[in-house]
Amino acid sequence: MDQGISMDEFTVRALLEKHHVAGYGWTLSCCSRDPGLAEDILQTVYLKILQGKARYNGRASFRTWLFSVIRKTAVEERRRSFFRRLKLREYEQQSQQMNPHGSFVQGIAASEELSMFQEALTALPKRQQEVLHLVFYQDLAVQEAAHIMGVSLGSARTHYERGKRRLRESLQGTEAFYDRESRRDTDSTALP
């Protein structure tokens, strides 16, 4: 087990707060964009950090380390029993009933362009999704993405290239790309 850097709770809290939004985005990507499950996973990650089960060892940046912990926790969560998943679904349904964020989720789904993009994204293999999210969404280098995913740089690059190609192929026929293209063209013609 790693020794870990001794950090007081205040410092850890401050760092986690700084990366909370990015962490939530990554958690969503790790759990097929399920908001209820993402919240649960993020809580488990914070709990692991509080309990000292996950300790920052200072080898990588804090964000890279946090993202690795989130990924690991999400993988563990996926492996849980069927009954646990059922319970989580119940919890999710309850939280959606109580949670006003539910309307935001519907808002996202209402955006046709984005929902098509999300569909295309979730159709990709997990590794490709992960690397694309880390590079395009989190603005990380492929090397950092490889570190988070626990794969070699070469492997991450391959996933990145394949993912990009597949995403382009699946989006090219859809309106998401077409609309964007036509909008871009009209914008450019409108400009003097």
Partner: protein, 134 residues
Amino acid sequence: MTENHDETQIRQLFRELKRQEERITPSFSKNWGEARSRHKPVRPFQRYLNVATGVAVALVLIMTLPLFRSEFVRRPRHDLPKVYSITEWEPLTDFLLEFPGDQLLTAVPQLDYLTLETGRFPSEQNPQSSGSAL
């Protein structure tokens, strides 16, 4: 459509997705607070108590193990049930296999000398006539 152009498109879509998801991100204080409420720090005293209990149980086991072993070794041999060899052993229900007239089949009948001589059975012989003959 160039590859760079596609990449820009993908990047823009990801940015939009990020913008949308940032709006639904739950507050940090809520998540942290819930994680804290689930966290039960182990008190040092409780930890010592757990360790002490474990050590006590281990000691008791270590101390009682030789007693059990010596008890087993000291047990006298005659306490052990007698083990019959296969030739000596008889099943408890063996009598059920016996026939009622089994003895008649296995035993040879004894005929007395007089019967052999006279050719008559004793019940057929007349004591008076036999007496007069003598």
